[in-house]
Amino acid sequence: MLLDYDRLGWLRAVLAAFTALVAAFLLLPVVFIILLSFGSSRWLAFPPTGWTLKWYQELLADPAWINAALTSAKIAAMAAILSVLVGLLASFSLVRGEFPGRQLLRGLLLTPMVLPVVVFAIAVYAFFLRIGLAGTTIGFVIAHTILALPFAIIPIATALEGFDKSIEDAAIVCGASPLQARLRITLPSIRIGIFSAAIFSFLASWDEVVVAIFMASPTLQTLPVKIWGSLRADLSPVVAAASSLLVGLTLCLMIVTALLRRRSSR
């Protein structure tokens, strides 16, 4: 009866209590950081003795933080666009192509996801030092695109596998060119996959720390590099304010994704 929710008996209470505890553990840092960001104590006393918005004011008044956020957004947007485009083309090959080495290719394109980032970070940093791309926006975008590509390929290829190719063929029979059929029939049908790919690859770049630490220069810093630097210096509440805004962004993206999923499943 261990897999029957209604017949678990006393065990159900134990499991439910434990699950609630773990859920609280998972939620604790997220809630904590938000409360902290409104607390008035510079020394992060908790529970806060008073509430304030001054850390947000300090954050938004500091051009270093604003620039870092803008740099991050710019790099992540470019990396997302590039990896969705490249990933879309690659997915068609991986799902529909019939050529030797297809499995190998699939493995190769997904490897950046499993290789420890630090190995890729120092490798690409050394390479970019040699060809003059270290510390440049274009270098950042290329490196982040490599890391984001698996997160673009997986949802797109999954969506493409679930799409019945005979619909595309029917469009061609009815007089559409193969390109027209793909653009007007296939792409709209897998749009949820493409959208997920865009969000995941944006986040893969936006949240990326390790490559960014190496690639950053004094004039080119992404948000995670700025946070990393602040964390190593001191635990200022300004970081809590920045972190809370990031949590807000995450929540928005989660809600948008959930809404789109629901709409598509209707």
């Binding site: 699950t19 773990v22 840092p29 050529f99 950046p112 596998e161 720390v209 995670p224 635990l235």
Partner: protein, 282 residues
């Protein structure tokens, strides 16, 4: 098979992969191979970097510590994740979706944000120490940060979703009738758990555990911020060797060791669960 010879050797439909292949080949494969070559050529050809790596007590300790932390994190993650996955696998979906939402939120929250929260929570004067002292459970603040405890808490927090989510799938795949049969045949809940449920979910535990272990081995950010200098992990050592000591030869050699271990374990994982499931159905 009679009809296929025409196709053999053809590259039908491979063109779309060219941009991806070029990108990954030029900016991933070439840099990584160049780095590995550097480990045997910098500062001079030979294996002296590997000799230095395995001959020095400091570096050997880093290796051992890396494996120790990864093993502890994996073990704790499995023990914590299993009951949660079990509950989520059989819970009414309406209730379960709240827990799911929390899991996804914690997983999607910026890594530095989560780590920062733990840095503040685990401080000597942090909330956890103060709460425990307030409750009279401890009288002195516990050392929870810059040591193994800090790394374990922070890493388990990050790894839990990666263990819970695949385990739910593994548990849902078990036919509840097998447990009903066990109960009918007179097995106590403990016997049914130890002899039916646990063995049947073992492949899922092993696959998820291996993934957590591999991910933990190469982790950089959380150990660097929550760990102490005395228990440095491999990824941080590699970064430091290259960034602060500018010793590219030694750093490359250490990176190569990490790469080989990771890829070997990954291959094992691939064999265990099959490439398709690992790639999320791709």
């Amino acid at each position: 098979m009679q009809g296929t010879p025409l196709r053999r050797g053809s590259m039908a439909g491979s063109g779309g992969a060219l941009p991806a292949l070029t990108l990954v080949g030029l900016f991933f494969v070439v840099p990584v191979v160049a780095l590995l070559l550097r480990s045997v050529t910098d500062p001079e050809p030979g294996l002296q970097n590997y000799a230095a790596l395995f001959g020095s007590g400091t570096y050997v300790r880093v290796f051992l510590n890396t494996f120790l932390v990864a093993a502890v994190v994996t073990a704790v993650t499995i023990v914590v994740a299993f009951p949660v996955a079990w509950m989520l696998a059989i819970m009414p979906p309406a209730l379960g979706s709240i827990v799911f939402g929390i899991i996804i939120l914690s997983m999607w929250t910026n890594l530095l944000t989560r780590t920062y929260a733990w840095m503040v929570l685990l401080q000597r004067t942090g909330v956890i120490n103060r709460t425990l002292m307030g409750l009279g459970i401890i009288h002195e603040p516990l050392p929870l940060i810059n040591n193994l405890a800090g790394v374990t808490i922070g890493m388990v927090y990050i790894m839990l979703p990666f263990m819970i989510l695949p385990l739910i799938g593994a548990l849902r795949a078990i036919d509840p009738m097998t447990l009903r049969a066990a109960a009918l045949c007179g097995a106590s809940p403990f016997q049914a758990f130890g002899r039916i449920l646990l063995p049947l979910s073992l492949p899922g535990i092993a696959a998820g555990g291996l993934m957590v272990f591999v991910m933990s081995l190469g982790y950089f950010v959380t150990p660097a911020l929550l760990g102490g200098t005395s228990n440095m992990m491999l990824a941080e050592m590699i970064a430091q060797t290259v960034q602060s000591l500018l010793n590219w030869g030694l750093g490359s050699a250490a990176a190569f060791v990490l790469l080989i271990v990771t890829m070997a374990l990954y291959a094992l994982q691939l064999r265990m669960v099959g490439a398709r499931r690992l790639a999320g159905g791709l």
